[in-house]
């Protein structure tokens, strides 16, 4: 509460959120790892010592050495380079697919939540249908339908996450609609569009933001699973999941082929989850003072 006489600029909820988040060590570590990965992804060709398709026919399935830090795979490609370059795919797919699904989900949820009545019903039932398919199955089907490749895979991955985002927004919006500040907005002649976009959505969206951060790790795993079973990103593109798939036959003799891509996936997912937990805690009003 402001009681003192000092001049006060006003601390928005956003800046308070940032402050709260910055105090969470685990979240900051997660964020640091993600920033590092983004950096790696951007400068991958400069960092990787070899091209991702470069073959050294004399060094098949070599364990880690000074020439090949992560060893080589069954065709003789440098795993370290492939992991580095692979960062571009996993992280970007995770983020893009989540952004797309959240954006679509928020719009659908806002329409359903605001319109009510039969429009709401139709939308909700459509979402029910989508959600009735097990997540991974839906992604597989979409991927098969859309075909392989980077952008098709992103689309396939985003479909499955749309219903959850829509429901989340709709639920929060329904709650906010009854609030007095919305009544006040009507009383000063705000148009429905203004009420939805300037008042309802900003006040309903925090849960979606948390959902998004957690969603990214979910999508990364799904992407890896897709390429593992041969859909999605196709070889020779060095997606981590595809690398795991290729290494399957050689687990016992050349475990390094599995370990490094696997670690890359695990660390990324862990970092995203740590950040996501931090975001959730920083947004939780009860934990605020």
């Amino acid at each position: 509460m402001i009681m003192s006489g000092k001049k006060h600029k006003g601390q928005s909820e956003f800046s308070r959120f940032i402050y709260q988040l910055s105090k969470n060590k685990m979240a900051m570590i997660g964020l640091a790892i993600i920033i590092l990965e983004v950096f790696i992804a951007v400068f991958a060709p400069a960092i990787a010592p070899y091209g991702y398709q470069e073959i050294d026919a004399n060094a098949l399935r070599q364990p880690p050495s000074s020439a090949h830090w992560f060893g080589t795979d069954e065709i003789g490609r440098d795993i370290f380079s492939r992991v580095i370059i692979g960062t571009r795919y996993s992280l970007s797919m995770g983020i893009l697919a989540t952004l797309i699904s959240s954006a679509i989900g928020i719009v659908i949820g806002a329409i359903a939540g605001f319109a009510g009545g039969w429009a709401d019903n139709v939308i909700m039932r459509a979402l029910d249908v989508i959600q009735s398919l097990p997540g991974m199955l839906l992604v597989i089907v979409m991927s098969a339908v859309l075909g392989s490749g980077y952008f098709n895979t992103i689309l396939a991955l985003s479909v499955g996450s749309i219903p959850a985002a829509a429901r989340m927004l709709r639920a929060n919006m329904l709650r906010q609609r009854k609030a007095e500040y919305i009544e006040a907005a009507y009383s000063i002649n705000c148009s429905p569009a203004r009420i939805i976009f300037k008042h309802l959505v900003p006040n309903s969206i925090s849960a979606n933001i948390v959902q998004m951060t957690m969603g990214v790790s979910h999508v990364i795993v799904q992407a890896a699973s897709l390429s593992f079973i041969g859909l999605g990103i196709q070889p020779p593109t060095p997606d981590w999941g595809a690398m795991l798939s290729g290494a399957r036959a050689f687990i016992r003799k050349s475990p390094h082929m599995v370990i490094f891509p696997g670690l890359a996936i695990a660390i990324t997912v862990l970092a995203v989850n740590m950040l996501g937990d931090g975001v959730r805690d920083a947004m939780d009003p009860k934990l605020k003072k």
Partner: protein, 330 residues
């Protein structure tokens, strides 16, 4: 106001709430006395510390983030703050009960109301289930609810009736002390009248001592015997109802009476107390009310006021009490 008749005595109580960022000084050296069979009204505004005091008596402050820094709460000679949790549990609901402000959330929505009363009895006695249920039905009758509603659920009752059930639960074990935290604030005025009458009647019947927390001086006038005025975690004035209503001495008390629209008078403008209560996270130097007080002097900003006796024998913590009284008389 003789000391030796006091049934509950709070001495120098200090309670803080803390988080990683700051400390809230909720109660700052409170001294209170309650007499057996009488009602003490604790009057103050939001954030003054009234609920914190009640929760401290029952020791139901949150485990994390709160701390009773010092003080003693003595009932019948025994310091409650020194008791072990197991012993305290025997007292809660049994010897000391509490009624909370919001009847809507005080009852378990998925348990029948009769059960809730019966359970309270069962926890503190060895009676059989049938006997406990019988007692519960008696309590329902006593609060004006027909016995046949024993098996109904809270949502089937109105706000006023829910509060009566809450009272029934609180009084089921015939407590010696009842803490009532704004028990009628959430109720309509005609229902409030019913509930206050009921509480007063039951109190006389069982000779229960009651601490009534409220911000409504009208309620105090109707129900209380003694009154304590609390501001920023300190008791600023304390006396019998007659003393406080006839001769309010502390500038804050005077301000409170003045700020209420007068039912008899015809003033065009009300007399608010200017300013706002102090920030409880900042320790206070001198008198907490000084920034808002017409009579404040340098001494008020530097020295903590000491409790004086007023001309008619009640207590007031103000350096300039005499000036405030002179002004009152004008």
């Amino acid at each position: 106001m003789s000391e030796n008749k006091s049934y509950l005595k709070i001495e120098n109580l200090r309670v803080e709430y803390f988080s990683s960022k700051e400390v809230v000084h909720a109660v700052n050296g409170v001294n209170l006395r309650m007499h057996k069979g009488k009602t003490l009204g604790l009057v103050g505004e939001t954030g003054a510390g009234k609920t914190t005091i009640a929760k401290s008596i029952l020791r139901i402050l949150p485990d994390v983030g709160s701390r009773i820094v010092e003080g003693s709460i003595t009932v019948d000679g025994q310091d409650l703050l020194k008791l072990k949790e197991n012993d305290m549990r025997k007292i809660r609901g049994n010897d000391i009960s509490m009624i909370f402000q919001d009847p809507m959330t005080a009852l378990n929505p998925v348990q029948r109301v009769g059960e809730q009363i019966s359970e309270a009895v069962r926890l503190h006695s060895d009676m059989s289930k049938e006997d406990c249920d019988k007692r519960a039905k008696e309590m329902l009758k006593m609060v004006g609810i027909t016995e046949d509603r024993f098996s109904e659920y809270p949502h089937q009752f109105s706000g006023g009736m829910k509060q009566r059930i809450v009272i029934a639960i609180a009084l089921a074990c015939n407590p010696k002390i009842l803490l009532a935290d704004e028990p009628t604030t959430a109720l309509d005025v005609t229902i409030q009248a019913q509930v206050l009458d009921l509480v007063a009647e039951l109190q006389k019947k069982f000779n229960t001592s009651m601490l009534l927390i409220t911000h409504d001086l009208g309620v105090v006038a109707q129900v209380c015997d003694d009154v304590a005025i609390i501001y920023a975690g300190q008791i600023v004035e304390y006396g019998t109802k007659e003393q406080i209503f006839h001769h309010p001495s502390h500038p804050y008390t005077v301000g409170l009476f003045g700020a209420i629209p007068d039912m008899a008078g015809d003033d065009e403008w009300l007399h608010p107390i200017e300013g706002l209560p102090p920030d409880p996270t900042k320790p206070i130097k001198g008198c907490a009310f000084a920034p808002r007080c017409k009579f404040a002097t340098d001494k008020c900003f530097n020295e903590t006021p000491v409790t004086h006796k007023t001309p008619d024998g009640h207590e007031c913590s103000c350096h300039n009490m005499k000036e405030a009284l002179k002004e009152e008389e004008k």
